[in-house]
């Protein structure tokens, strides 16, 4: 589906990401883990078309074999912060992507409102973001991303602002939401427990310069992912990350 070929990102004379290629398949959740500063977020921002202006990228990308540039309407991006606009209600926030994509305001609202129950936000359509709990804000942000019906979802550390318990609930919840439609999702995370719990595949990045060093499939259904079943993959990933940061 989405394919990136030989991506290099530079910040002046420094090379942040070097010669990185990857392929994302429809119907799969790929987690990207790696040490801080290895270029995970830069890769995702490049795909979203919002790479910082002081960074320079070279490389190509295709969707179903057709060359594309970013931002692209088949790609929805969710940054690290939830970026809900404080002056808009939850429903208006959720409509943003649809309205910018050219959908009529009323049609966007109908479509978004139909999804509120599934996202655990029923009754909060007219609430402002600061009236929601952390978990609800995050679900509202997911609603805004998912309702765009993009074929590729880019999620940059979506759970980083949540407490541990909410995070556990949200992980299972997100896997269910993503499974409702075949999409290719790429999620950046620092947390290898989270990655192994959720992903169909884990990509490991190393820094200096940023590159992919491992591509580990986890072909296990969610129900079978117990601590013991994942122990081996986790210790392998842990060793790999420790080696990359030592």
């Amino acid at each position: 589906m989405l394919e990136v070929q030989a991506l290099t990102i530079r910040a002046g004379a420094d090379t942040l990401v070097k010669d990185l290629s990857l392929r994302l398949e429809e119907g799969s959740l790929t987690c990207l883990i790696g040490p801080s500063g290895c270029g995970k977020s830069s890769l995702v921002k490049w795909l979203a078309g919002v790479l910082a202006p002081d960074l320079h990228a070279e490389g190509a990308a295709t969707i179903d074999g057709t060359p594309v540039t970013f931002p692209h309407r088949d790609i929805a991006y969710q940054p690290q912060q939830d970026t809900l606009f404080p002056w808009l209600t939850t429903a208006e926030n959720a409509c943003l992507g649809l309205e910018i994509g050219g959908m009529d305001r009323r049609a966007a609202r109908d479509r978004v409102k139909a999804l509120f129950p599934a996202f655990g936000l029923e009754g909060h359509e007219e609430s402002f973001p600061d009236q929601l709990s952390g978990g609800m804000r995050q679900r509202a942000a997911f609603l805004r991303t998912i309702v765009q019906d993009a074929r590729v979802l880019l999620l940059d550390e979506p759970f980083s602002a949540l407490d541990a318990v909410t995070r556990l609930h949200m992980q299972d919840w997100l896997v269910e939401r993503l499974a409702e439609r075949p999409r290719a999702a790429l999620m950046v995370t620092h947390d290898l427990f989270e990655a192994t719990q959720m992903a169909d595949r884990v990509l490991v990045m190393a820094s200096g310069p940023g590159r992919l060093v491992a591509d580990i499939p986890i072909p296990m259904p969610s129900a079978e992912r117990s601590e013991t079943a994942l122990a081996e993959i986790r210790s392998k990933l842990k060793l790999m990350l420790l080696k990359e940061t030592s």
């Binding site: 078309g49 931002p71 790609i75 991006y77 940054p79 970026t83 606009f85 910018i100 994509g101 765009q148």
Partner: protein, 253 residues
């Protein structure tokens, strides 16, 4: 209850100040030509109420017209500066430098160039109130978090869409704080302009009262001008609250 709690200390201090002033004048035999008592000021205000009202309406008219035009002008300029980095880099230092000119000192020149009509006074009010608003608007635009902009751009938003949907709403608080700063200058600037030459207005009234050694009437007019500024600030506060969606919702509920 809350507003009473905030206002009470100020009212106590004000009353104490006025009582001290009144007592000093009564005990010290100070000439009312030099220092009239607060009661003399209020009395003057009552006796001269018709004349003062006429001059006040002239001042208020100039201040409101000048201030309104200034808001529109500042908004248009801030949008142009926002979209043109070149103009912004060129204009901002000049705008800052322009503030080193004592603009009120230009009042006599304005009268010389444009006569005694409405134009020189309105221009002076615009000159004085324009800058704080442009600065607060451009600062407000720049305060948009980058993540908000990125979110919209990743959705395919154009520069104009980003401005309308994120930059402008996020500058709201800054805009109103600039508006309040400018409003405090608006009446003062109008009085200065009238001072330099006018047929009607509090400025010319103050000048005439001073020339007639009527310190009580000077202070009466000063009191009225202070009340005008307070009224303008209250109106802005009201507009800010009424245009806030959350406030409207709370009062509807």
């Amino acid at each position: 209850m809350t507003s009473a709690r905030y206002l009470f200390p100020a009212l106590v201090l004000l009353t104490a100040f006025l009582a001290t002033w009144e007592g000093y004048v009564a005990l010290s035999d100070a000439s009312p030509l030099v220092l009239p008592a607060p009661s003399d000021v209020l009395n003057g205000l009552w006796v001269e109420r018709h004349a003062i009202a006429r001059h006040t309406s002239a001042t208020l008219g100039v201040a409101v017209v000048g201030f309104s035009l200034s808001v529109v002008f500042a908004f248009v300029v801030s949008v142009i500066l926002h979209f043109s980095g070149w103009l912004r880099r060129g204009m901002m230092p000049l705008l800052v430098a322009s503030q080193t000119v004592p603009i009120v000192a230009l009042a006599p020149l304005m009268v010389l160039w444009f006569g005694f009509g409405l134009l020189p006074k309105v221009l002076l009010v615009i000159l004085v109130t324009f800058f704080p608003m442009v600065v607060s608007l451009t600062t407000g635009y720049a305060s948009l978090p980058r993540a908000f902009r990125d979110q919209l751009v990743s959705m395919g938003a154009t520069r104009w869409m980003v401005f309308r949907r994120a930059t402008l709403p996020s500058a709201r608080a800054q805009f109103f704080s600039g508006l309040r700063i400018s409003a405090t200058y608006a009446i003062v600037a109008t009085i200065f302009a009238e001072y330099a030459g006018a047929r009607r207005g509090l400025g010319i009234y103050i000048l005439a009262a001073k020339n007639n050694f009527r310190a009580d009437l000077v202070l009466s007019a000063v009191l009225v001008s202070a009340c005008l500024t307070l009224a303008l600030l209250a109106a802005i506060y009201g507009i800010e609250r009424m245009t806030s969606r959350r406030y409207r919702r709370e009062t509807d509920a």
